[in-house]
């Protein structure tokens, strides 16, 4: 009986693994074509015309900040220096325990302001609103700690006055033309394109001056380099391909642009969401599909947002566990969207993929390890087949990762140094052991924390980029 179970289980796992590989391969090919198309389309777009166009819709940039005293000034200066005809910047001080508000007050000569604040979307109480005496485009909203980013963004949304809102992380750096680039699909089709996400890249290791990247370098630490590969794979393959089929359901919280009226229409960010970015986009899809609106949620691969990633295992483990909790926290309440005509391709392809190949992947993987061990103990494991399968899995995973690096090389080519590219390729061979197994454990921890209702946000250890290199 046990033998039979193990045998069935092994076949199921084999089919699951094969299917996931084929999907990854398909995503890689779709993404490659989508990127090339985007590159060619860009050749006929002149950003400098957009920069001076009186028709470009104004944007409010929302930057929630929680204990960011080390980097907030650099970030704010970088955001205010963005190329765009008309923008306002709202920094939301989310109950920082450090001197975030004080450094902002000193640098931008903030003064308390009696401006109109309409709390249409839920958030923790606002303590005050400040305006700058030397930068009229800046508004600072100081609020009680809300415990998560969603709460802070909602406070910013309440104060926003422009038709589009761009949500960024205050500890991230946007390239100067990022807003112009992320607006390309929106300006091309403002009626249909309701939101767009940009690519998030790893800042660690690069040089930063005045809130801008001056030299892109690969981080020195192995953990960070592996995250570079993950980010390339997730954005240049995953998001590019899903967006091509209008099934993109994650716009990174670090850099995304939305139509403000629609964000308000869906009730803003869910303040108790763990993965607020995924949650918002899924609710936007749901709302627009239920309204039977013809819309698109786009991914634009060239407007770059640079962000600091965890450089220690503890922080990374927390982050990944939280991401997995967030995935479950969004998929479970939206399970009614699965396989229902109203939700179109998203309900029949996009979300089932997220359930089967993202959410349940760690469960399947752990079952796989267990049955293999059991099969070996019971003597039903074909050692030859097992080794072959292991080699195949290793080779295929490596190929997909190198595919992501190749796509980066063909299209955006941010790593100019030869040594960086060679290191990047080499690391593609080394991410399967032990990193993959550690990642499995972190994701299982995410499940465990979710079922135990452990939703506490645990801060990540940061180095900051105070006007120099982001040290590894």
């Amino acid at each position: 009986m046990l033998r039979h179970f193990i045998s069935v289980s092994n076949i199921t796992l084999f089919v699951y693994y094969l299917a996931s590989n084929l999907i990854y391969l398909a995503l890689l090919i779709i993404a490659l074509f989508a990127s090339l198309r985007h590159r060619r389309r860009l050749a006929s777009i002149r950003l400098e015309r957009m920069r001076t166009s009186p028709l470009a819709p104004p944007i409010t940039v929302l930057a929630p900040a929680h204990n960011e005293e080390k980097s907030i000034i650099e970030s704010a200066r970088g955001l205010l220096a963005l190329d765009y005809p008309e923008l306002e910047l709202i920094i939301i001080n989310d109950g920082s325990a450090d001197r975030t508000l004080e450094v902002l007050r000193e640098h931008f000569q903030l003064r308390p302001a009696d401006v109109l604040y309409l709390p249409e979307l839920p958030s923790a109480p606002v303590r005050g609103v400040y305006m700058s005496q030397n930068e009229p485009r800046l508004l600072v909203v100081d609020k009680e700690p809300g415990g998560n980013k969603a709460d802070a963004v909602n406070a910013g949304l309440n104060a926003a006055t422009k038709p589009y809102v761009c949500v960024v992380d205050a500890d991230s750096i946007l390239e100067r033309d990022s807003l112009l680039r992320i607006m390309v699909p929106i300006l091309a089709d403002p009626r249909r394109v309701v939101a767009a996400g940009g690519i998030v890249r790893v800042l660690n290791g690069s040089r930063v001056r005045d809130g801008q990247i001056t030299e892109v370098r690969l981080p020195k630490g192995w953990l960070e380099v592996l995250q570079v590969i993950e980010y390339l794979r997730a954005f240049l393959i995953g998001r590019e391909a899903w967006a091509a089929g209008n099934m993109l359901n994650i716009i990174s919280g670090a850099f995304g642009i939305f139509r403000r009226d629609l964000v308000r229409a869906v009730g803003g960010y869910r303040t108790n969401a763990i993965g607020e970015d995924f949650d918002l986009v899924t609710r936007l899809h749901r709302y627009l599909l239920e309204q039977k609106m013809d819309y698109r949620i786009s991914f634009v691969p060239d407007p770059v947002c640079w962000t600091e990633v965890p450089s220690d295992l503890r922080s990374l483990a927390r982050q990944r566990a939280r991401w997995h909790k967030g995935l479950l926290d969004v998929l479970w309440p939206n399970r009614d969207m699965l396989f229902r005509c109203t939700y179109g391709r998203l309900g029949s392809i996009g979300l089932p993929y997220m359930w089967i190949f993202e959410l349940l992947a760690p469960v399947v993987e752990i079952i796989g390890y267990t049955t293999i061990i059991l099969a070996a103990v019971l003597g039903v494991l074909s050692r030859e087949f097992f080794i072959q399968f292991l080699i195949y899995g290793y080779a295929f995973g490596t190929m997909i990762s190198i595919g992501a690096v190749m796509q980066e090389e063909i299209t955006y080519k941010r790593y100019n140094d030869w040594r960086d590219v060679i290191r990047l390729v080499l690391y593609c061979f080394f991410e399967h052991f032990p990193y993959r197994q550690m990642y499995l454990v972190w994701r299982l921890q995410g499940f465990w924390q979710y079922f135990r209702k452990d939703f506490v946000w645990r801060p990540m250890k940061r180095i900051g980029f105070q006007g120099g290199d982001l040290k590894d």
């Binding site: 050749a43 028709l55 302001a113 604040y117 006055t161 300006l187 390729v425």
Partner: protein
């Protein structure tokens, strides 16, 4: 040697019908080849690109040294046209030079560079590409033709407006916009009004803006014929470019049945400011559509005339909060008249309006000025207290509204340090 002799056997195993074991072996082989190809591609491409850019740098350096000769013809076009890389570099340098010359208003220099483009055959070559090729090559040529600003490229670009491919049509619109020529505007509008042109509205509007800059009368005949979305689109362009020369059309648009067109008319009235502007905007601030009222309020804010104040104060009590905020914003910019304005707003007994105006004055950095100006020094404290009391009362009223059925709710959160 063993490996070589076993190769046929290995190939046979790999190509034989799939059992799971064989399938996995085949997959390993295919994946390994895939990895090898990807690595080869990445490294090979890097190497090639490095060589290409090095060569390009060298050629740019050489061509820069010969630049005057290229322009005056002492370096004949045959010398650089036969090398594709040189051709590409010279073309880019000519385009950049032309754009800089146009931006600086140096027409003669721009004409000289255009002459080189024509004489060298680069222009005809691009026109040929735009007419005979397809796909991205055609699109690239269309945009490049726009950069030349040569009148003879307009028919080629216009022909591409009929292309079946949507992206090619967009490139043609961008190219036509790039020329900035009135005939390019005419070609676009002929199609917009006549047969309909399916391209994204903003791209088309941007291109029309470039071509009609300083010549809004170009839009007149088309606006008179246009219906529906074409009318909306053209009126939006007129809204940016209007002058008193098109006054008659603005007056017609202000009474249009389409609200988007009326909103554009309001915008145009603010830009052109004809004699009847105040009267018409006074009507448009009472429009049934909130965004028409909003546009009218913004336009009124741009007119420096004391007669706009009572109209804007009335808009402070509008049912739409965006209109109220814009009206407050416009009033807050009225500088020396602030005292008078606040006095009148207090007279409306609308606390939301009072709060909106104070809020906007605060945004504009004028609150201290207002406090000192609102009364003479002997009564300043009293006046300040009155204003603050009014604000508090407004806050309370808004809180009451928030507890009730009214939406959107409005609650004031005063900043730190304010009593």
């Amino acid at each position: 040697m063993d490996c070589v002799s076993n190769l046929p056997l290995l190939t046979a195993v790999l190509l034989s019908p799939a059992t799971p074991g064989r399938f996995v072996l085949q997959a390993i082989a295919v994946t390994s080849v895939g990895i090898a190809l990807l690595l080869f591609f990445i490294l090979g491409r890097r190497g090639l690109r490095r060589r290409y850019f090095h060569r390009r740098d060298m050629r740019v350096f050489t061509l820069r040294k010969q630049w005057e000769g290229i322009l005056n013809g002492s370096v004949p076009p045959e010398a650089w046209r036969r090398h594709p890389l040189d051709s590409e570099i010279v073309e880019e340098m000519l385009f950049e030079g032309m754009e800089a010359a146009h931006a600086a208003g140096h027409r003669e220099e721009a004409a000289r560079l255009l002459h080189v483009l024509r004489a060298s055959g680069l222009l005809s070559s691009r026109m040929h590409e735009a007419s005979e090729y397809g796909g991205w090559r055609k699109r690239r040529a269309l945009v490049a033709l726009g950069r030349t600003r040569a009148p003879e490229v307009v028919p080629v670009l216009a022909a591409a407006l009929e292309d079946e491919d949507a992206e090619t049509r967009v490139a043609a619109v961008r190219g036509l916009g790039g020329t900035g020529l009135p005939e390019a505007a005419t070609e676009m509008m002929d199609r917009v009004v006549g047969r309909g042109l399916s391209t994204p509205g903003l791209t088309l509007q941007n291109s029309l803006l470039q071509c009609c800059q300083g010549r809004p009368e170009l839009l007149q005949p088309y606006l008179r014929q246009a219906q529906g979305s074409a009318r909306q689109m053209l009126s939006r362009v007129l809204g940016e470019l209007a002058t008193t020369a098109v006054e008659e059309d603005i007056l017609l648009l202000a009474a249009d049945p389409l609200p988007e067109v009326r909103a554009s008319a309001a915008r145009a009235l603010g830009v052109a400011r004809p004699v009847a502007a105040l009267e018409l905007l006074g009507e448009l601030v009472k429009d049934k559509e909130w965004f028409v009222r909003l546009r009218a309020v913004v336009a009124l804010g741009s007119i420096e005339d004391a007669r706009v104040i009572p109209i804007l104060i009335e808009s402070l009590c509008d049912e739409n909060r965006y209109v109220r905020l814009r009206a407050a914003g416009a009033l807050a910019q009225m500088g020396p008249r602030l005292e008078q304005i606040v006095g009148k707003v207090i007279e409306t007994r609308d606390r939301f309006a009072l709060h909106a105006i104070i809020s906007e004055i605060e945004r504009a950095g004028g609150i201290a000025h207002l406090f000192s100006a609102i009364s003479d020094p002997n009564h300043r404290e009293e006046a300040t207290a009155t204003l603050q009391q009014a604000l508090k009362a407004g806050q309370e009223q808004m809180r009451t509204a928030a507890r009730g059925e009214l939406r959107p709710v409005a609650v004031l959160k005063p900043g730190k340090g304010h009593s």
